[in-house]
């Protein structure tokens, strides 16, 4: 792979990568629980609940991109929706939230569904 050579030419700061991915991971875990509360109150069931989660999770990443990544990424010459200034893997940035928070979402979803509809 030529990525080894590219890494030699333009090195990556590991601690910055750690800091950014931890920030995103914390946000996604927290918001996934929040979406679970919302889905439980709305009384969503089966597929509509998971659809709600997918939409909200993508919305979270979108909002994070608009508020945190875009203000400094766009002036530095990156294309729109390109988070490579802060994240190594674009695919992971956009879809990582779907897997990160799923467990927390289901937990609070079932909990609040049971609480509201007791």
């Amino acid at each position: 792979m030529s990525s080894e050579r590219e890494l030699q030419i333009s090195p990556i700061v590991q601690e910055a990568v750690m800091n950014n991915s931890k920030t995103l991971y914390n946000l996604q875990s927290l918001t996934a629980s929040l979406f679970g509360v919302g889905a439980g109150i709305l009384g969503l069931e089966s597929y509509s609940g998971f659809l709600f989660y997918v939409v909200c999770s993508l919305l979270t990443t979108m909002l994070f991109y608009v508020l945190r990544v875009a203000p400094t990424s766009l002036p530095s010459g990156k294309a729109a929706f390109d988070a490579s200034r802060y994240f190594r893997s674009q695919f992971e940035f956009w879809t990582g939230g779907l897997m990160n928070g799923l467990a927390g979402f289901i937990l609070t979803w079932t909990l609040f569904y049971g609480l509201v509809r007791a």
């Binding site: 601690e15 800091n19 929040l34 919302g38 009384g43 979270t60 945190r68 200034r85 994240f87």
Partner: protein
């Protein structure tokens, strides 16, 4: 050879003053994000309580009047649904605003940011210095000793030997 400790003493006291200047905008950002999150949490709590009350009322109605169908239990009033969605979005906005600032991952961009902004670019949302902040990667270039003129030193040494050496 005594110059490095002197420079260190000159650098160290300047750090707290820089940090104090940078604290204010981060405090304001944190305050805004916490207020928004709290507002959303109040809305969400209200929506949750409303939904619970509605559900209890529906089941009570269903128990007292056997004529009505039980399908009404599942449907939530539209205002509670709207309140839930709005509250979720408000909390989401507050949480996103409260995230720590990101750092560039490419070494040249990262080092250039430190060079331009100093420590202020690397404070977290509480205005505190991050523990893993390593400082300016170019500082060793700025604090290293200058070049040594070895020929001049040899000449001086030779002169010193000539004057005071053979006795």
């Amino acid at each position: 050879m005594t110059s490095p400790p002197v420079q260190l003493q000159a650098i160290t006291p300047s750090l707290p003053t820089r940090r104090d200047k940078a604290v204010a905008p981060f405090r304001i950002m944190t305050w805004i994000s916490k207020t928004i999150t709290l507002l959303g949490a109040v809305l969400l709590g209200h929506a949750c309580y409303s939904a619970q009350e509605h559900s209890a009322l529906q089941s009570f109605k269903a128990a007292t009047t056997t004529l009505t169908s039980t399908s009404a239990v599942a449907s939530l009033p539209i205002d509670i649904a709207i309140e839930t969605v709005v509250a979720t979005l408000v909390i989401l906005l507050g949480l996103v605003l409260g995230t720590r600032p990101l750092r560039p991952i490419q070494w040249n961009v990262w080092a250039g940011k430190i060079e331009r902004e100093g420590e202020e670019g690397f404070l977290d949302s509480e205005g505190e210095m991050n523990r893993d902040f390593v400082g300016n990667p170019f500082s060793f270039l700025e604090t290293r000793p200058g070049f040594v003129d070895i020929r001049k030193q040899r000449k001086e040494f030779a002169g010193w030997i000539k004057n005071s050496g053979p006795q």
